[in-house]
Symmetry: C2
């Protein structure tokens, strides 16, 4: 090679959680560097987000999950990939790592000029899990997947229990159900999908139950009931018993920071490694990327540990570039944008939810709408439920959640992009989005919810949360008679919206008044009418009866 000095040596620890990306990127940024990738597992990297889908057979071939082959890294990127190689120590003074070859158990020291840690995270293991039980699994890597598949081939399970209703849990539920297995889902929290607020999680829970899955909420597992080396059932803390031929646990992850911690690298408040905008740890020669790090949150502003693939990849790219050249683009912020398909529904969120607003002390307001994914006059339009959280003073968007059949991914990404720019509901109202009948509407759902929030902040009229107590309010139900019959609202005065201009005198303008319809749209029209006719205090129940039903369902 050209140049007489030693080439820069970049050592990367871990392939899957941003490490492989870092390696490939480092090569492109520096053609001369020596790049060594040390991976504990058997594969340089694999598509961990695809594991549940191979389990259920939607991804038919296992090899599709092996997205980055050693051959590619060797021939195309000239990266020295060493699999089944575990790093057990970092000597920062000597700039070496201690590597164990897991095949031979041989140990050696490896010098580095730059070190990139991508050790990721590992699944939490619940207390009740006793060792030696053969049919209880996590689904975190290829070994786990192979073990589950082997067990399923061997025993043909008829029943399964999934513990944890997060992303992986819900994907596993869907895929096991797809195989015809009778599935129970057990969740410790009062609702599924922690990133969502309870009201937005309720339709997902309904969908899960509709598909025939047994859903246990507020349900802690007391113990496993075993027969020999197998679990046969789970006993819940409330005494109920859930039979299962196979158990899959997905109750969260913890960052793998032992190596970083032992080396004295700074660890943040949430237990992840502290990094700067170029993914450098407190030792500027050592980088960290992916699940093991804390990254600045675009709404909370503080570092947060959010284990998602997108930020791991972007971080890997930046760390690889910076390690190889000493400069790189800025990492930017994370927003926790995430999405999951749950049977016929899709749930997505970005930014922060009500619980986080409350615990972080953010003043916030909420708006909820139902809107079709495309023009309703064009076939196959599907309603989605949108919820946004925004600051009452500035109108700044704080977070968004969506549940629906289609078009959810598009809207959450528009909202995530708006969060990136620290945009407001007034920005959302102005967005010039693409419209043709198969794809959207002249007023996109994102525009629509912004209009609702603008009305709220302009007190025209102010919104009332979907779950608000209605005692002390004059409640006006402007739905049709048929709607009111199907889902009654006790104590309400019923005046259909199209009769309100003739019958509003039946109401008492001096009473605080809340107007209610199915989704909040007609109620807005009614509330405007009453406000304009001398009613002192008028509110619109956001999301209407359909959302109130969800909000009060737990």
């Amino acid at each position: 090679m050209s140049g007489s000095s030693q080439p820069l040596r970049i050592v990367i620890v871990g392939g899957v959680a941003g490490g492989a990306t870092a390696a490939a990127r480092a090569r492109r940024a520096n053609a001369q560097a020596e790049i060594i990738l040390l991976e504990k597992g058997p594969a340089v990297s694999f598509a961990n987000c695809g594991l549940p889908y191979h389990l259920g057979g939607e991804i038919t071939e296992r090899k599709k999950l092996l997205v980055a082959t050693p051959e590619l890294f060797d021939k195309r990127f000239q990266v020295d990939v060493r699999t089944t190689s575990e790093v057990i120590a970092i000597d920062r003074a000597a700039r070496t790592v201690t590597v164990v070859n897991l095949q031979t158990q041989a140990t050696y020291q490896l010098h580095y000029d730059r070190l990139i840690l991508a050790t990721g995270s590992e699944p939490l293991r619940p207390d009740f899990w006793t060792s030696g039980v053969r049919n209880v699994f996590q689904l975190w890597n290829l070994n786990d997947l192979d073990a589950v598949l082997a067990m399923m081939r061997e025993r043909q399970p008829q029943t399964a229990a999934v513990i944890g209703a997060g992303f992986i849990g819900l994907e596993v539920v869907e895929q096991l159900h797809r195989l015809g297995i009778d599935v129970s889902l057990i969740e410790r929290n009062p609702h599924v999908l922690k990133p969502l607020d309870a009201d937005m999680a309720a339709p997902i829970a309904e969908e899960i139950k509709k598909q025939g899955v047994q859903l246990y909420l507020n349900a802690g597992v007391e113990k496993m009931i075993t027969a020999g080396d197998r679990a046969v059932a789970l006993q819940l803390q409330d005494g109920r018993r859930v039979e299962s031929d196979i158990v899959i646990v997905g109750i969260g992850v913890r960052p793998r920071v032992e190596l970083a911690h032992a080396a004295g690298l700074a660890i943040g408040k949430q237990g992840g490694v502290t990094v700067n905008a170029w993914m450098q740890t407190s030792d500027p020669l050592i980088y960290a990327v992916g699940d093991m790090t804390e990254l600045p949150h675009g709404v909370l502003e503080s570092p947060q540990r959010i284990p998602l693939a997108g930020s791991a990849n972007r971080g890997g790219r930046i760390a690889g570039t910076h390690a190889a050249t000493g400069q790189a683009a800025n990492m930017g912020v994370v927003l926790g944008t995430s999405i999951v398909r749950v049977f016929n529904l899709v749930a997505a969120s970005t930014g922060i939810n009500e619980q986080t607003c409350q615990s972080a002390g953010f003043d916030y307001r909420t708006a909820i709408i139902q809107a079709a994914d495309h023009a309703t006059y064009y076939p196959n339009a599907h309603e989605m439920i949108l919820k946004i959280l925004y600051a009452p003073d500035s109108g700044r968007l704080l977070g968004a959640q969506i549940v629906g059949e289609s078009g959810v991914d598009k809207r959450i990404d528009i909202l995530a992009t708006t969060l990136h720019f620290r945009g407001t509901i007034h920005d959302l109202a102005q967005l010039d989005l693409a419209y043709a009948p198969p794809f959207g509407a002249a007023k996109d759902p994102v525009n629509m919810i912004a209009f609702v929030a603008q009305n709220d902040l302009a007190e025209h009229p102010t919104l009332l949360p979907a779950a608000a107590a209605l005692a002390g309010w004059q409640v006006v139900d402007v739905r049709t008679a048929a709607e009111t019959q199907a889902l009654p609202l006790a104590g309400a005065k019923h005046i259909p919206i199209d009769e309100l201009s003739l019958r509003w005198q039946e109401l008492d303008p001096s009473q605080p008044t809340v107007v209610v319809c199915h989704s909040g749209k007609r109620a807005h029209i009614g509330a405007c009418w009453l406000s304009g006719h001398g009613f002192a205090k008028v509110r619109n129940l956001t999301g209407g009866m359909s959302m109130r039903r969800h909000a009060l369902s737990h």
Copy 2:
């Protein structure tokens, strides 16, 4: 009603192009106002974007197009809707309009306190169109639709010619083809879909031809050949003759500003009415919305006339609010974001294209990638082609175009949102978007193209436009042998990417060198390698051979 003074009277001229929205919004903003909507046509408003889809039967019921009924406006909004009522003059001093009842021909004066003009636009009529021909149509309103449908029922056309390959033209082509009609598409310009650059329009043209549609580009119509009261063929300027039982013309629109112009309202450089951020014309008591206006463009900064439904709706909302209350949110900017489905492909664009950059004197660079709509290891991933334009100094995004099978609408809206915030390619690289295998990838196509553009601006390496002349360059083709055979690149030195690290010495490092592959991805890796090994000047052909083929196809 309460209050002793006369209520504010808001008169709205035109329903479809933002007027109906303005009326409904004005009522919600002001419960006391008197609101009169004057509409020349028979319906208060209708879904004009849906017309082609009813023609082809995708929207089965005509009544679905009647989204805003007079009953709704009467009972729910207390708007006095007067259809078949044409306004022929405005007297600004007297604050009156002259209305003709088209049923009775009676004329009357109507006082206004605030006037909202929503007269829209009308389709251009080509020179060759002689009057009295019964089977030549435009498709602009319900009367047009009914006339075309009547003709199709009566004559069962076997052949059709569509003139103009814009949005409506392409939608009509698709829908007529759906009915089994042999369709010819005639376009005066060298490529279809003017908002796209030629290279991005080429795949759409290919798709049209693949479906069996006869496509005539660079083709002006010289004259109609008639038999009695029917056109039987079109003669093109180059002498070719296109047989057709029915002709549908969609060659663009012009703003209907005669009324505004006669009243002395300011008209902009592009022929639309000048308005401020609240849609007020040069007379603050008169508002204008929709196709008839010019609105500030988010990239060009100057007022532009962009006749699209989204901005008409948003403008109607703002005009209605401001007319009713004296205050409203700001209209913001338009970006010309648009989308159209053409058989199995979708084409979309936002911001400005190369031609506009050139005519506006914007310095710009382009990047093109191919990327899958979701993780390729998950079933049914489809490649899309993305192109972005950005400023070389700041990296500011100037425009984007996408062609693909699915996921196009999502990415164009993310890019439009970025344009709204005047974002850069560095913002795009940081976007934290939603990823799960059915919906996206850990690096979304939007992130990916930003990485490519960042490399370009960092000269790592610089991109060469897809259609660049390659004479004088050392061209290195890093595709596989099979790819090179299928689509040869004359004069290139062929070294497959995975052999480049062994064979790069076969090349001359002193020569300016361009690396080429299928899409530009492997070429980037190769170009980085050569740059890092002493090659003086290295470029990557953006979009690779697949895009070069399109770029040179016309």
